[in-house]
Amino acid sequence: MSEAKIHVIGGARVPDSPSEQRLVEIRQEAERRGEVKAIGIRPSGAPFPKASPETGYYGLPLLKQPPWTWEIPLYFFAGGAAGAAAVMGAIADYTGADRKLVRDARWIAAAGAVISPALLIADLGRPARFLNMLRVFKPQSPMSVGVWTLLGFSGAAAATAFAGFMGERYGPSLPLRVIENAGQAASLVFGLPFSNYTGVLIGATAIPVWNQNVGDLPIHFAASGLGAAVGLLEMMGNDKSRALQALGLGAALFECWEGLRIEGRGHSHLDPLKHGPSGWMIRTGGVLAGPVPFLLRAASVFTGDSRLRRWAGISALLGSLVTRFAWVDAGHASAREWREPLEIAGEGRRELGE
């Protein structure tokens, strides 16, 4: 049998039509796929790189990844919580709520007011030149608007907490009361945008996963910050306040909806929010900030167990932290995804039903 197939004359093979057909097949496979799959064969660098409307420029990413390190997502977290705490502290004061709650909210805001600029400055390539941010005010730059908001918020929140502390310790006086009231009003005014502007900051960029969600990010970040601030206040012992419970429930409910929104839509630009490490971070953050605190709070409403509330607060706080890191990580994944800015539909996308 085998002698009939292989013609051996003097140790050399004689070509015949099946052997030549096989060589043509190999060539055709190489042309079609860019590599030939066979046992024991692993061509280095294969498939052969081609630049084309389907592959872009060898699949090299067009966009640059964000140069930010861990300071920036942590700043998003701290700033979001501090802004929401300042708003809650001021409203709580105006509506005559428990003094401890007002005081604690002010301290959270003041802590954020100190930590936030430190983080922002630490991430600069030239920290010593931070003041260059204050050369100009550019309404068309969310970074510029944000820095000025941060400046106003930091000053106001720190002054409020300081004046409140001095007043309680050394007795009230007119100047202290003026600083306290003016500071509180200003930290309310600055706290509102400060708690959510970071959503605009990353939304108004060239990174697809960010700019395609620009309409949702500020609300999402505001809810995340509110959940974290409520959690912090409850951990500080304010676990009897029905207002905090209601706000915590609201924030958790919104985060549930945000998760459903992301999971329910199939646009390719949402891929970094659903696949890979960034997708799992988004999911982890979403579950910790949405369903978990929502169910724990609902349970605590019925049972009256304040320990459940504290756990809900801790979960929302962690969820907020993870969510900020996840969104920045998703931005990295989105910048690496070379198909998106070139408007190339990949095979993986068609499988997802695009």
């Binding site: 067009l62 966009l63 030239r126 068309q140 820095v147 949702d216």
Partner: protein, 267 residues
């Protein structure tokens, strides 16, 4: 001062990388491109903080005929990439220090003595050009040879180019030249030659135009680059809604709770 531009013609480029060398030498840019990418003769990859001119080596599928190619050989073209110097520049709008400015020649220039390295321009560039130098801390990109232009000279890359693939001149003249060149190329059978100059996007045209053959996407040139300021309206509207809901919700929650507290305390 006249408004100037680059016209980079890939049909004339021979891939010699003289522009990369000239740019690095004149501007004193640090070395890079010492790694193998595995993608043709391109070991630089992309423009960035240490690469302001970058020659792309574009290998297409076999295409018979033009350029002396044998029918079974891959077609091979080169194109020198550079900062696009957008008419509506994302980096310039995003810069919070005012370091990035528009020069009198129409170029977009990062003032190194002002930049504090916040990195926001990096994510604002729809072409992935500007980058933070992690050793130095500041953001860098093509200066459009602002110093040379101020002295009445042409940019280093254009001066070093041996085939006039990189042309430099007054922008309207170059746009006219580009149309003439396209007509000539089409007459000679290169019907796939196109001019890349995204005037009909929010970027509003660039000061670096490219003549390429085939789909510009194989040169990593995006079909619809958008300046990120177009997302501001939606973003700030959402921010206002978020602030209003936070204010209203907090007020409602504490008013409702406060009322109850008041009753409990017999107020």
């Amino acid at each position: 001062m006249s408004v100037t531009a680059f016209l980079t013609d890939s049909t004339l480029c021979i891939g010699c990388k003289a522009c990369e060398v000239a740019c690095k030498e004149w501007n004193g840019v640090t070395e890079d491109g010492l790694d193998w990418t595995g993608f043709s003769y391109d070991n630089t990859g992309s423009v960035g903080a240490s690469t302001w001119r970058h020659v792309k080596f574009v290998e297409h599928a076999p295409e018979p005929g033009i350029g002396g190619n044998a029918p079974e050989m891959n077609s091979w073209s080169f194109s020198s990439d550079v900062c696009k110097h957008c008419e509506n520049a994302g980096c310039l709008e995003a810069c919070p220090t005012g370091s990035i400015v528009r020069t009198e020649f129409g170029g977009v220039y990062v003032q190194p003595d002002v930049c504090n390295g916040c990195g926001y321009c990096v994510v604002a560039c729809p072409f992935g050009v500007v980058e933070r130098n992690e050793d130095d801390g500041r953001a860098f990109k093509c200066t459009f040879c602002y110093d040379r232009q101020k002295a009445g000279l042409i940019p280093a890359c254009a001066k070093a180019c041996p085939t006039e693939s990189i042309q430099f001149g007054e922008i309207d003249t170059l746009r006219r030249k580009a149309e003439e060149r396209l007509e000539e190329l089409r007459r000679r059978g290169m019907r796939d030659a196109t001019l890349y100059d995204p005037v009909n996007t929010s970027v509003g045209g660039t000061h670096a135009m490219f003549i390429v053959r085939g789909d510009p996407r194989s040169y990593n040139l995006p079909p619809k680059p958008e300046v990120p300021t177009i997302y501001l309206k939606k973003g700030w509207a959402s921010s206002a809604v978020a602030a209003a809901v936070l204010l209203g919700g907090t007020l409602l929650a504490f008013l409702a709770d406060g009322g109850r507290n008041g009753q409990r305390n017999g107020r």
